[in-house]
């Protein structure tokens, strides 16, 4: 089935996020070949120009590299991939912190809240 | 050639059933004729019916084209085609003509058989010219007539559909088509009665000296009847040829520029 996308974010970014997640989870390994633009377009039901933009963006971020006549590959530069992981963690933490701040919570509240959350989880 | 062939076969596939119905009607006519002949014990009935069927073939091509064009007219999507309008029409004419030829040949055989069993039939064939010439002329006359009418059908159909998408004219397209027909008929009659036309007609007349069918075509109608000492006018032939080409191209012009989907 054609994928659903959020309205608030460009589709090319959403696809880039998805690929990044796959890389971090290890579903895509360093040196692995990404699907061709057309394959990716068909798979996700998305305009090929959009996929092209996703790949350009990932290339700009140095997460993938395009080899002439061969296709697009996940970079083998482990340092870049490590950075990617950190960056995505940071993104999630940032939005978490921002939401909590909007509720008027302090840093201490957040830390203790998190601790309580994990303890609660373990008990269940 | 590939284009024409493709159109031609499309046409035959599309009208296969129509052709079958035509043949069925022909057979039905023969059976009814034979039945009546037996019942009244009057062999001339059968002969008369077969001749009627034969002459009725003058309407074969127009009827065929109307059927075929009306199938296309449901959506007009046949116009989504990069080839010339003349080719689109010619393929229809050609396919219709082939079916006409088959049906006409069958009708002709039956009519000959019917005539040969009719009372006093000898008189027909003993007349000048002999059966071969007579049959050729009859066939030629009806065939020319049906082509002539067929091309006019293309024209009126195109005219009718040209008016379909024009505001203000849309609701009165029937009156317009009929009005055009009346006007053209009147002009035709007027011209054919001019002394000059009569003189023209008499250029290159061949006296056939045969008891034959006369092919008399008005601008919009053909009539056929037996006349003595038929003549063929070469000039007349040329005039009608010119008319038919003009009408055909008028139809193509309308199809290319005025008919919309």
């Amino acid at each position: 089935m054609v994928e659903e996308f959020q309205a608030s974010k460009p589709i090319y970014m959403q696809i880039a996020d998805k690929i990044n997640q796959q890389i971090i989870r290890g579903e895509l390994l360093p040196g692995n070949k990404l699907p061709s633009v057309r394959e990716m377009a068909v798979k996700s039901g998305v305009n090929p120009n959009t996929i092209q933009r996703t790949y350009s963006e990932l290339e700009r971020m140095e997460i993938v590299e395009t080899r002439r006549g061969q296709g697009t590959f996940v970079t083998e530069n482990e340092g870049m991939l490590h950075q990617l992981k950190l960056r995505m963690q940071m993104d999630i933490i940032e939005s978490f912190v921002k939401n909590m701040k909007e509720l008027g919570l302090t840093e201490e509240d957040m830390v203790s809240g998190l601790k309580r959350y994990f303890i609660g989880k373990r008990e269940i | 050639m590939k284009v024409f062939k493709g159109l031609f076969y499309k046409e035959l596939k599309l009208t296969k059933n129509w052709f079958m119905v035509g043949i069925a009607l022909l057979i039905l006519g023969i059976i009814v004729g034979l039945g009546l002949t037996k019942y009244f014990n009057e062999p001339n009935i059968f002969a008369a019916i077969t001749v009627m069927i034969l002459v009725g073939h003058g309407l074969y091509l127009p009827a065929y084209l109307l059927t075929s064009l009306n199938i296309e007219g449901q959506t007009q999507l046949w116009l989504h085609n990069p080839n010339r309008g003349a080719v689109l029409f010619l393929a229809k004419l050609a396919a219709g003509f082939v079916l006409y030829a088959v049906s006409f040949f069958m009708a002709l055989v039956v009519a000959l058989w019917g005539l040969s069993h009719a009372v006093n039939a000898e008189s027909l064939f003993s007349l000048t010219g002999g059966p071969a010439l007579n049959i050729t002329l009859i066939g030629l006359g009806i065939t020319l007539g049906t082509i002539f009418l067929g091309v006019w059908v293309l024209f009126y159909w195109s005219l009718f559909h040209s008016l379909k998408k024009v505001p203000f004219l849309r609701s009165i397209r029937w009156p317009i088509v009929i009005g055009t027909w009346l006007l053209l008929t009147a002009i035709g009659n007027y011209v054919s009665n001019l002394p000059m036309y009569q003189k023209l007609k008499n250029i290159g007349v061949i006296k056939l000296n045969a008891y034959s069918i006369e092919f008399k075509a008005g601008k919009t109608s053909a009539s056929a009847g037996f006349v003595d000492n038929a003549e063929l006018s070469i000039m007349n032939g040329i005039i009608y040829t010119v008319i038919i080409f003009a009408v055909f191209y008028a139809a193509v012009w309308l199809l290319e520029r005025k008919v919309e989907v």
């Binding site: 996308f5 377009a41 998305v46 120009n49 | 596939k13 990069p82 989907v261």
Partner: protein, 230 residues
């Protein structure tokens, strides 16, 4: 690739199109959206040379359009196919004979992709399969312009999905201009580069799908609701 210059089309008192001007580029997929009777179909037919403007000029590849632009334009009508006695193969043979750019090798692939039986008669096909066949016929050609009029209308989600995938697999997205007229935008939003909104014979707005998300955080459906409410 496609240019409308001050196009008007009158149908009696109704106006088909009212002084419409726009240009569409090569290698892009456009959505033409608007309520029924807004002028979407008329616009497509005009690009295909099947309807002539009352006023103005339509250009395709710089040429003024007439019926024979069918050479460069593949047009998928919203109307059902009506050559009742034809089989799928008959239809394909006919198309192959009429269009020089019709690629027979591609057709077999497309038929397999759409799971169509070449020996089935058109009248035996379900509506969905006739919709698929129409797309097969359009996609088997190598044209600069591909026009699709309501390709999803009345079809179930399975068929819609196969049509979207078929499109994405077979269009030449670097060179072909694709225009899809539809009132069901949600299916195909991720497919489109740009969207033109038509209402009462006028193009009332035009948006780049990704830009709209980036700058306003809106999907096309949300934007449409705002555009057509006014």
């Amino acid at each position: 690739m496609i240019e409308f210059k001050n196009i008007s089309k009158k149908y009696g008192r109704d106006s088909g199109l009212d002084d419409v001007s726009f240009a569409l580029d090569k290698g892009k997929i456009y959505g033409l959206i608007g309520p029924n009777g807004s002028g979407k179909s008329t616009t497509l037919k005009m690009i295909a040379g099947l309807v002539r403007p009352t006023k103005g000029t339509v250009l395709v590849r710089g040429k003024a359009v007439d019926r024979r632009i069918a050479k460069d334009v593949a047009y998928l009508s919203e109307l059902d196919m009506f050559y009742q006695p034809f089989t799928v193969k008959d239809m394909i043979d006919f198309y192959a004979s009429q269009f020089e750019d019709f690629r027979i090798d591609r057709v077999n692939e497309l038929l397999a992709f759409m799971k169509l039986d070449p020996d089935k008669k058109l009248k035996q096909l379900s509506k969905g399969n006739r919709g698929r066949l129409k797309l097969v016929l359009a996609l088997a050609r190598e044209t600069s312009v591909l026009l699709l009029d309501e390709p999803f209308s009345g079809l179930d989600p399975m068929v819609r999905d196969s049509i979207v995938k078929g499109l994405l697999s077979y269009i030449d997205f670097e060179n072909q201009t694709v225009v899809i007229a539809t009132h069901e935008i949600d299916e195909i939003e991720p497919l489109l580069d740009e969207v033109l909104a038509i209402k009462d014979g006028k193009v009332i707005d035009r948006q780049n799908v990704e830009e709209l998300r980036e700058t306003k955080g809106l999907s096309i459906i949300q934007w449409m609701k705002m555009t057509f409410k006014e």
